[in-house]
């Protein structure tokens, strides 16, 4: 009796295994993103609905960025079918030939800023660099523009800027010396560096991660800082005495690519098409502060009106911000970063 049960059990398990293995191998794709609350939001907004609609399994992993993709592609060990990157990384990786070409017959690019639609990469979401200040120090009369941030006499206090993202700090430095929003790109690198030089002596911390920027502001280690809007939003939700707006923000896109040599390229293409569709794009701001890359998401009616004003890529907010140009940084990142490091480490 027990023996027969056992055999039955084995047979059933064997059947299940034989049925499940080929199916899952063919219909599974692996996606790597940045992890944390952002990837959780993407899971709810993009991955789960897509998996359900296409009847596939989506496995997840996390990435550190372009190095990981380069390592996999050049080492002929591609684990991921889709991965997220910063737009300037996409532009650089594209130049290195690390990605598969995208098929815009499958992916509908309408509604996505043409600057973020390329042969082998496409925009997926936006982050903004914003100016945050503590209201327990300044009330509501804190620094509102980067020129204010640079004005150490009118706004005394401790300051932090990004030390790891030279692209962002140079963009706000250009704004600080009075460059109009639409003239920041192409960035006058030497001019922006001179601008950084002016405020350098008053910077108490050069942050190297989003978490660090948040901690500096939250603990009152600094009174004002540049910070990613998602982190700023979290601080506000936690009840920290802070204020920020999208005025003079620097809008930075994230993108998705299919690493060259992906084994499930066609399926990945279909999934990517879903991710950038207005319908799923409109889900993203319901879970996280990163705005959708497809502006048609705002026409779906899925996003509540009162939420739209807080989304960095809402048309009204886009007008107030500088859009980082990924191709400019593809060509100038190395030189600008080395010069920037020389300056801030003097």
């Amino acid at each position: 009796m027990t023996k027969r049960l056992c055999i039955h059990g084995l047979a059933v398990a064997g059947l299940l295994a034989s049925a499940a293995v080929p199916a899952s191998a063919a219909d599974t794709i692996t996606i790597a993103s940045w992890g944390g609350t952002y990837q959780e939001a993407q899971t709810k907004a993009f991955f789960d609905p897509t998996a359900k609609e296409l009847g596939i399994t989506i496995k997840q992993d996390t990435t550190n960025g372009l190095d990981d993709v380069r390592l996999q592609v050049t080492g002929n060990a591609v684990k991921w079918d889709i991965t997220e990157l910063g737009a300037d990384e996409c532009a650089r990786g594209s130049k290195e030939g690390l990605f598969e070409k995208l098929d815009y017959n499958v992916i509908d690019k309408s509604g996505i800023n043409p600057k973020l639609v390329h042969d082998d990469w496409v925009g997926i979401s936006y982050t903004s660099v914003v100016l945050i200040y503590r209201t327990d120090v300044f009330g509501d009369k804190g620094p509102k523009t980067w020129a204010d941030f640079w004005d150490v006499e009118k706004f005394p206090g401790r300051r932090a800027l990004s030390g790891s993202q030279a692209t962002e700090t140079l963009s706000v430095a250009a704004l600080a010396k009075g460059t109009p929003i639409d003239k920041v790109y192409p960035v006058d690198i030497d001019g922006a560096l001179q601008s950084v030089d002016k405020v350098k002596g008053h910077i108490d911390a050069w942050w190297t991660s989003g978490a660090q920027a948040m901690q500096l502001v939250k603990d009152g280690e600094v009174d004002m800082a540049s910070i990613w809007n998602g982190r700023a939003g979290t601080l506000r939700k936690e009840g920290a005495p802070v204020s920020f707006s999208f005025d003079q923000g620097v809008l930075t896109a994230d993108c998705m690519v299919i690493p060259k040599g992906s084994k499930n390229k066609d399926l990945a293409m279909k999934a990517l098409a879903k991710f950038v569709s207005p319908d799923l794009q409109a889900n993203l701001p319901l879970y996280v502060d990163n705005g959708p890359a497809n502006e048609k998401a705002f026409e779906t009616g899925k996003i509540p009106q009162e939420r739209i004003k807080d989304i960095n890529s809402a048309p009204d907010n886009v007008k107030k911000q500088v859009l980082q140009d990924p191709e400019f940084w593809r060509d100038n990142l190395v030189e600008a970063t080395e010069k920037f490091n020389n300056l801030i480490q003097q």
Binding site: N64, G65, L66, D67, R70, R92, E96, R158, A160, G163, S164, D204, A205, W206, W207, T208, Q212, Q215, L216, D219, G220, E221, L333, V334, T337, E338, N341, N342, I344, Q345, Q346
Partner: protein
């Protein structure tokens, strides 16, 4: 006599040569046997240390377009920040090692003089931080040292200071955080070597009329030097490659070599940029270790001959 001894000498020489030949082949056989026993270990060292380091060196010689070039090394001289980072790295390592010796030596001495039971309890307090993640300890220091942290709040409440002291997000913060993390690496080998110092040597010194201070200075301290040397070397080398604490406590103003490597790896699209940094650090570290060995090794043997 002279004839006899000559012929005897001849015979001995002949015998000696025969013997020597046999001994030589014996020694050769033994050496081969030892080599065979060693070979798995040697192979492992070759495969996991020599090959990767050789590869690292090889990679560092190629530029972005895959051409053989010294571009990755030239960068150190073209960009001021590299030299600065290198100097900072060694400055931090020296200061932290110095602080560890300053705090660690008395601590290890106290531990070595305590009764066994009390010593093991105290040792637990030295080892305990080992079991906590470096990240957690570093954040804890941040909470204690920052502008609105425990220390500044207390000092301001007590009226000792008017303005908060700059303890975090600068050089001081990095040194404090790293000293805490490195201390056990100095204390443990030092304690072990202090425990092996023969108490009779100290008693003999006292017996011969030396004061306690003189006994310590002339007997205990020189005998503890080999342990101190190994602790110093471990701490110094670990400091050179440290990443987490300077990244979090330095406020982006104390950039160390390991942080630079991480940056170079993501900034440049060739591994060579980061590899060159690794090669330079390795070479300088090995040179320094050689220097340590030469200085402290000679000192340590000097101690034994004095004894």
């Amino acid at each position: 006599m002279s004839i006899g001894s000559a012929s005897l000498g001849h015979a001995v020489r002949q015998d000696g040569e025969l013997n020597a030949r046999a001994l030589r082949s014996d020694a050769r056989r033994q050496a081969l046997g030892l080599l065979a026993l060693l070979s798995p270990g040697l192979f492992l060292v070759f495969a996991v240390i020599i090959v990767p380091i050789g590869w690292l060196f090889w990679l560092s010689l190629f530029d972005e377009s895959g051409q053989l070039s010294l571009a990755n090394y030239a960068r150190f001289f073209e960009q001021a920040s590299y030299i600065k980072t290198f100097a900072t790295t060694f400055k931090v390592a020296f200061v932290v090692t110095g602080a560890c010796v300053l705090f660690g030596y008395p601590l290890a001495y106290m531990l070595s003089q305590l009764p066994r039971r009390a010593a093991s309890i105290c040792l637990i307090f030295v080892i305990l931080p080992f079991w906590t993640s470096v990240l957690v300890r570093t954040y804890a220091w941040l909470v204690i040292l920052q502008r609105k942290g425990l220390i500044n709040n207390w000092l301001i409440d007590l009226g000792v200071i008017g303005q908060p002291l700059p303890l975090a997000n600068n050089f001081a913060g990095v040194v404090i955080g790293m000293t805490h993390i490195m201390l056990p690496f100095l204390v443990l080998p030092l304690y072990a070597s202090m425990k092996t110092i023969d108490v009779d040597c100290l008693r003999a010194g006292m017996n011969l009329g030396a004061s306690p201070a003189a006994t310590f200075r002339q007997i205990f301290f020189p005998l503890s030097l080999p342990g101190l040397a190994s602790g110093v070397v471990i701490v110094f080398v670990l400091c050179l490659g440290f990443f987490v604490t300077p990244a979090l406590m330095g406020g982006g103003k104390v950039i160390m070599w390991a942080m630079r490597m991480e940056q170079a790896t993501s900034l440049y699209s060739n591994w060579g940029a980061g590899a060159a940094l690794g090669v330079v650090l390795l070479a300088v570290t090995l040179a320094l270790l050689g220097l340590f060995q030469w200085l402290l090794g000679a000192r340590a043997t000097g101690v034994w001959s004095q004894r």
